[in-house]
């Protein structure tokens, strides 16, 4: 189904899921509280049948002081896309893991932890994916300072 | 006297083997270091020990190979001269091979050749 009635269907399924504006596809914003429930429905409910987690990443909105976690979902059955986002404070970002719905989330979440420091509740093997285990700091944060990095001279 | 040819043959073989070793022994710079002597594992430090109990099948397989390799080695000289000795040599070798095949069947039935 196309994005319009997909949004209404999701709103029906999850009352406090507000559509996220400024996105190029059907996008929904969910508070962290009932994030896991919505994901479970999106995965198992045959009306949605989002069996493929295309992409999971995070955006560091340092002015608003929050991380926005973005999940791009796709359903091979119905052929429609949905973008689900939830935001957590920058100080102690804890998000429930979606590993048991999509197996790949375990590794994408490890990458987001490695780059942003977002902690995943219930993740079986949360450790850095790319950087050394004893690396200080999280590189993709806007306020990451590193004397090794060379700025381009103007 | 016609066995004399073996001597230059072994000399040449020895020269070939030890010549290479001697050349590298004489010419190559020899600088052992702690890292150079450490085991090479794709650039990584090794994890855990490699002194572990592994499947006995490897040992049995090697043993079977050894037996039949030696058997082949014995058959070479026999194959050269058995024409002069006629049927006796043939029966002799037949018994030799049959005994070994009996051993092989025994090992096969006992499952020595089943791979893990």
């Amino acid at each position: 189904m196309d994005s319009a009635n997909l949004l209404t269907a999701v709103a029906a399924a999850e009352p406090n899921a507000k559509p996220r504006e400024k996105a190029d596809r059907a996008a929904v914003q969910v508070p962290v509280g009932n994030f896991s429930a919505l994901m479970k429905r999106l995965r198992n409910d045959s009306a949605f049948a989002f069996d493929m987690l295309c992409d999971h990443t995070a955006i560091d909105w340092s002015e608003q002081g929050s991380f926005e976690l973005v999940y791009q979902l796709y359903s091979t059955v119905h052929g429609h896309y949905l973008m689900v986002t939830t935001s957590v404070p920058r100080v102690n970002p804890i998000v429930p893991t979606v590993r048991e719905y999509w197996r790949i989330a375990e590794f994408q979440e490890r990458e987001v932890y490695d780059m942003f420091g977002v902690l995943y509740d219930g993740h079986p093997d949360l450790r850095r994916l790319f950087l050394e285990d004893d690396w200080k700091g999280f590189p993709l944060r806007k306020d990451y300072k590193d004397e090794f990095m060379l700025e381009r001279p103007e | 006297m016609d066995y004399f040819l073996i001597v230059p043959f072994t000399l040449l073989a020895a020269l070939f083997v030890f010549g290479g070793l001697a050349a590298s022994f004489l010419v190559a710079p020899h600088r052992p270091g702690k890292v150079k002597n450490s085991p090479y594992e794709c650039g990584e430090k090794t994890i855990g020990t490699s002194w572990v109990q592994f499947n006995v099948g490897y040992y049995l397989f090697a043993l079977m190979f050894l037996v039949f390799d030696v058997e082949a080695a014995f058959l070479y000289p026999w194959a050269l001269v058995f024409r002069e000795f006629g049927a006796v040599a043939l029966i002799e070798a037949g018994i030799f091979i049959l005994v070994l095949i009996a051993g092989f069947i025994y090992a096969w039935k006992k499952g020595a050749l089943e791979w893990v």
């Binding site: 590794f107 995943y120 450790r127 | 990584e44 994890i47 020990t49 893990v116």
Partner: protein
């Protein structure tokens, strides 16, 4: 539920569970960063029991250059050349992915000539990538001749690219707003010569390797992965289609001029190494069919819709766009805050997901089969680490 951060050392530790003193013990071996059959710096920590692989733990980051951090400091046009260095075997398709995301966000309209040339270039790059995969796949299974055959035919496409683009590997050819150059006058002639040359050669590939009993023995039924597992680890491209799921963005999204050409999606049945092998060979034929249909009627028009010096500024918002590369779906996710360089760039790379198929399928196979499975996944490591 608690948040518990572990490290590699306690992930790679033997649990003491030897039930009887006679049982064989497991040990760890590094199939490490510098290894002939990992095609790049991918480190697999293997938990072995004798020769049988019990568990594979991939360790990444040996070629992590931080491309996403660099993306935040570069303008949109500059970011295109970084996309070459991701999956350098489908460099043109990566350029297309980034350019298409930027064009959709800034809604730049393209004429037909650009779309047809882009589709032609992408399909030639797909054939070239599968040729290299076929050569290296043969070499991994111990046959050196396919390596020579594959690279010999690959050089011809490299000449075609070099004549038009000027580069053999990192193209930087498809820019947001069109193409860097128009195609070289000799392009159509060379592509037709290549098609006539390569059709019998593909049949030669079949007789050389596919018909070989040893190869069939080593591939049939090895590393089986069913559709559901493939979808749950997000595998895409030939790996997913070999498991029976007919997901091909060229068909479902019909971007570029894929809508105007007739080709069929190659789908395997039981997702083992043989199907992954057979699907890629068949895909080469489909790509040649696409090139054949497009090469004769390249429409006239300008090769660049926008002056190259024009600064591109995307309106605020988040844009996500996917393209089918030789190895799967490459998604480019750009969050823009209206400035000249993106606020956040994220690349959903196909190899990242295809790699984890090794942890699903490699258990209880022997070491030789592990190499076959890893090579059948056709993993390019800088694409994983970014």
């Amino acid at each position: 539920m608690s948040v518990h951060i572990t490290t590699l050392d306690d992930r790679v530790r033997l649990r003491k569970d030897d039930s009887s003193p006679l049982s064989t013990q497991e040990y760890f071996v590094n199939m490490g960063p510098q290894h002939p059959s990992t095609h790049g710096v991918l480190r697999l920590v293997l938990k072995l029991d004798g020769e049988t692989v019990r568990e594979v733990i991939p360790v990444l980051g040996y070629i992590h250059r931080g491309i996403e951090k660099m993306g935040e400091h570069q303008s949109y046009r500059q970011f295109v050349h970084l996309s070459d260095r991701l999956d350098y075997l489908s460099a043109l398709i990566n350029n297309w992915a980034v350019s298409m995301t930027i064009e959709k966000a800034a809604n730049i309209e393209l004429n037909d000539r650009i779309q047809v040339i882009r589709t032609l270039m992408a399909e030639l790059q797909r054939i070239q990538s599968h040729q290299l995969w076929w050569g290296v796949f043969g070499m991994d299974l111990g046959a050196f001749t396919p390596f020579l055959y594959g690279f010999r035919d690959r050089e011809i496409i490299a000449d075609i690219f070099e004549e038009t683009v000027g580069a053999r590997l990192t193209m930087n050819y498809i820019q947001p707003g069109g193409l860097m150059y128009d195609i070289h006058p000799g392009f159509v002639k060379r592509v037709k010569a290549f098609l006539k040359y390569f059709k019998p050669k593909l049949a030669e590939y079949e007789t050389l390797l596919s018909g070989n009993v040893i190869l069939q023995e080593r591939l049939r039924g090895v590393g089986r992965m069913d559709g559901q597992t493939a979808l749950s680890i997000g595998a895409t491209g030939p790996v997913l289609r070999a498991s029976g799921v007919p997901l091909d963005l060229r068909k479902s999204e019909a971007y570029g001029s894929y809508g105007k050409v007739a080709f069929d999606v190659v789908v395997g049945k039981n997702g083992d190494c043989w199907d992954r092998y057979w699907v890629r060979l068949e895909e080469m034929r489909q790509s040649m069919k696409i090139v054949e249909q497009l090469i004769d009627n390249i429409p006239e028009g300008k090769h660049m819709v926008m002056k190259p010096a024009v600064k591109i500024k995307l309106p605020e918002g988040s844009y996500y766009n996917q393209v089918e590369t030789a190895r799967g779906i490459l998604g480019v996710y750009i969050v823009s805050d209206g400035k000249e360089s993106p606020y956040r760039v994220h690349l959903r790379t196909p190899n990242f997901n295809n790699l984890w198929a090794i942890t699903e399928t490699a258990a209880n196979w022997r070491l030789g089969d592990l190499v076959a499975i890893l090579s059948s996944l056709d993993v390019v490591v800088p694409d994983i680490d970014r």
